[in-house]
């Protein structure tokens, strides 16, 4: 399931909903991305996340489908926020459930690695020095590259 939203999310409620009434799930893996107060340019007071409505949902659905093709998963949940966020706020939640932990853990790592290089989101960081668009990192490209087949 894909959700692209401005509002915050309740991690406990979201994770609980993935397993409610299901007894065949052996493991749930999750990743939560947060706004940091320190970036390459110095201290960050506000981060604004821009995205491409329409394309964002399509690319996230494609990434979910790819994870489901690679691992035997019961649920996949991706929630990604946009708009103005302050340090400490949640940006993204990725969660997967499966009968076995390895599929859940690996697919969760895969999803966040692929999302970072494929989903059309951009971060603008504002601090005392002014505003700057976050540059894509080569380390993120390498992290996504290792899942290539």
């Amino acid at each position: 399931m894909i959700k692209v939203q401005r509002e915050d999310f309740d991690i406990g409620a979201e994770l609980a909903s993935l397993t409610e009434g299901k007894t065949g799930i052996g493991g749930l893996a999750s990743f939560v991305g947060l706004v940091r107060d320190l970036a390459d340019q110095g201290a960050v007071s506000v981060m604004t996340l821009e995205h491409y409505p329409g394309m964002t949902e399509k690319r996230l659905a494609e990434i979910e489908a790819e994870a489901r093709a690679r691992w035997p998963l019961d649920s996949v949940l991706i929630i990604h926020r946009y708009g103005k966020l302050e340090p400490g706020e949640r940006i993204v939640l990725v969660a997967t459930t499966s009968a076995h932990r390895q599929a859940a853990l690996e697919s969760c790592a895969f999803l966040i690695d692929w999302l970072k290089t494929k989903a059309p989101f951009w971060k603008l960081e504002q601090g005392a020095e002014g505003a700057a668009w976050v540059e894509a990192k080569a380390s993120d490209d390498r992290a996504a590259e290792k899942w290539k087949r």
Binding site: Y52, K58, V92, L115, F121, W133, A136, D140
Partner: protein, 83 residues
């Protein structure tokens, strides 16, 4: 064609989207970027780092040699930084 701009492509050009009628010689994404760069100093500035600009046509990523059509929705943006 409908052009959409995001992140620093948008802030350099000064608008988020516009309808453009490209001249007949604009056949590929590469041609389109060359032509857009001539539309004014702000366009030239936005396309200064043209080799890093990502292009999506109708929500799908394409390479710079991909053909463009007059009814396409074409988005130009920097490498993505979500997550």
């Amino acid at each position: 064609m409908k052009l959409l701009y995001f992140a620093w492509v948008r802030t350099n050009i000064g608008k988020a989207e516009e309808e453009l009628a490209a001249p007949g010689h604009v056949q590929t994404v590469e041609d389109l970027l060359d032509w857009i760069a001539t539309l004014g100093p702000q366009y030239a500035a936005a396309l200064d780092r043209r080799n890093v600009i990502k292009v999506a046509i109708n929500h799908e990523y394409v390479e710079h040699d991909h053909p463009v059509r007059s009814d396409d929705e074409i988005a130009l943006f920097p490498p993505v930084t979500g997550g």
